[in-house]
Point group: C2
Chain length 334, copies 2
């Protein structure tokens, strides 16, 4: 995927425009103080424990905006429908989109619908785009941060992390991917794992009001492993984490063991990873834990100038390199 | 399509938010002075005379923003790629997107790429979203309009048309749909028609500087027939047009005759339809005709309080009702 992006897609586009340009490969681009993002959703099956393609589409886009520190303002929705899709399916998905949009407080402002013949799409593809604007909670966060250190941060970019910053994950990892797999043809296994799909804008707003947050990302495709490597690479720091501090559901751990998948590489859809100035890390953690979305939040490590890449102290002892995942361990979970 | 939208999609969403809400079903939605739109592109084949899915995606989105009177600021690009798509195809499409984006002056600021297994998409689906902001040429247009009439127009909405307003189409109709059909399996016919796919923002900017434009729309799906009916219905006026004044390429006319398709119902991808205060119609027409995109522009009729719906004086004599098209006469042309 990265190779395809770097060979055929990114070099073609003028990637250097805006406050957060396309070439930054951050969660959203930013231009003229408008935060802008898009995501195509091809999850299979359309309905899975804890969510469906509708709730996924809303959360994925809302979160990409919220993790920049912005206030999500509106969504746009593009449906590609395969001929013959049962109207009940479409209705259920639309109900789910409506509920998720209402709960996040981010309305759908624009849309498009195309119907294609059988075989030209797999039932339903939902693409959501979102826009956001500067929020006073982002400004408050930056004001507090400036009392702690000299900084010119304007948005919560992946490249903002400094040695010493604490790394917080807002809850258990791997739930979404395992929940989708558990009900997929050819994989189907007994599991009570439900997807974490959830819009995080309200939780993030509260955390930013505490202040001191430096960078934020939602660990979707490529999971925590990818997110930490992006922080490390773009910020030019190392990151050391402790496996025993990473929140993970026992069922996810078991399923990952059986399937031979690294839970750190599985996509999440209702989690945020934050780099926080150490002076504020405990307060941000406490704030997160007081929210339903962040009740399992944990400080899992810190950025360091002593190492390169991402290093994890494992439960069985020793340290291992956490590599950025090569390709999706599981396709079509988002 | 309209029935599906009105039964399963629109009632689910909170359609009344923003300056131009979703329920207005205008070319873009507008909230907090940000113009926002999205379009999924499933055109078949991917390459056609005069363009391809890449140039189509850029023009479609840029035009949806420009016809609101806004300045398009950025695009977001979501690709769904069927496994096995030749890399040369992807590269050609990306080159085309880059060229179209550069020419329109609207950069791609965000993106997403998903690869799905064979049969889960037809080669390539390109979804583009776009954002725009208020432009000084829209403000100039409104200032000039206010000297002519008492009005509270803020955006070029479909519902702004008043009796007496002149209807201008910026060039020949039907080219895009016929160009795509001419190279499609099962239809393929000899034709020298090329698609009109083209970003119109620069042309529209010049026309707005002349002033007096009341409403604007790009006649994509459903063609001119749909656009005029939307103006009529949403503005509560009738529209009378003269068939002999509608610009149409002879090749398009011939192909439509052979295929039994009404050229007024065929989608265009590089045309704008405008309602203009009569005092300014000739000046706007002259301005359009001085641009390469608008050289065939024509005043084709006017809004009227004397009739309902859309009535056309035909070339063979008499008048006929121009109905809003029921479904696409030709699927997958955009």
């Amino acid at each position: 995927m990265r190779e395809m992006l770097e060979t055929f897609i990114l070099p073609k586009l003028k990637g250097d425009v805006g406050d957060v340009p396309l070439s930054a490969l951050d969660d959203s681009g930013v231009i003229d103080d408008i935060v802008f993002t898009i995501d195509g959703h091809t999850v299979k099956p359309l309905f899975f424990p804890g969510g469906d393609i509708g709730s996924l589409s809303v959360a994925g886009t809302v979160n990409d905006i919220a993790v920049m520190g912005a206030r999500p303002v509106a969504l746009a929705l593009s449906l590609v429908i395969e001929e013959g899709l049962e109207s009940e399916v479409l209705e259920k998905v639309m109900d789910s989109i409506a509920r998720a949009s209402e709960k996040a407080g981010v309305p759908v402002m624009a849309g498009d619908t195309k119907v294609v013949e059988r075989g030209a799409a797999d039932k339903l593809i939902v693409t959501t785009s979102g826009i956001g604007v500067r929020s006073h909670w982002l400004d408050a966060n930056i004001r507090i941060l400036k009392k702690i250190r000299h900084t010119h941060i304007r948005w919560l970019k992946d490249s903002n992390v400094q040695a010493g910053d604490k790394i917080i994950v807002s809850g258990t990892v791997g739930d979404h991917g395992i929940a989708v797999l558990s009900c997929r043809d050819g994989y189907g296994f007994e599991s009570d794992i439900v997807s974490d799909v959830c819009s995080l804008n309200h939780m993030i707003e509260k955390a930013l009001a505490i202040g001191g947050i430096v960078a934020m990302k939602d660990p979707t495709r490529g999971g925590l492993a990818n997110t930490l490597n992006e922080f490390a690479e773009k910020s030019g720091v190392g990151i050391e984490i402790d496996e025993s501090l990473i929140p993970i559901n026992p069922g996810v751990k078991t399923a990952c063991g059986l399937l031979g998948i690294d839970p750190l590489e599985i996509g999440n859809e209702g989690k945020a990873v934050m780099a926080v100035a150490p002076e504020k890390a405990d307060a941000v953690l406490e704030c997160l834990r007081a929210t339903p979305e962040g009740k399992d939040a944990s400080i899992i490590g810190q950025a360091s100038s002593e190492i390169k890449g991402v290093l994890m102290t494992t439960i069985i002892g020793g340290r291992r390199v956490v590599e950025p995942p090569i390709g999706d361990p599981v396709p079509r979970i988002c």
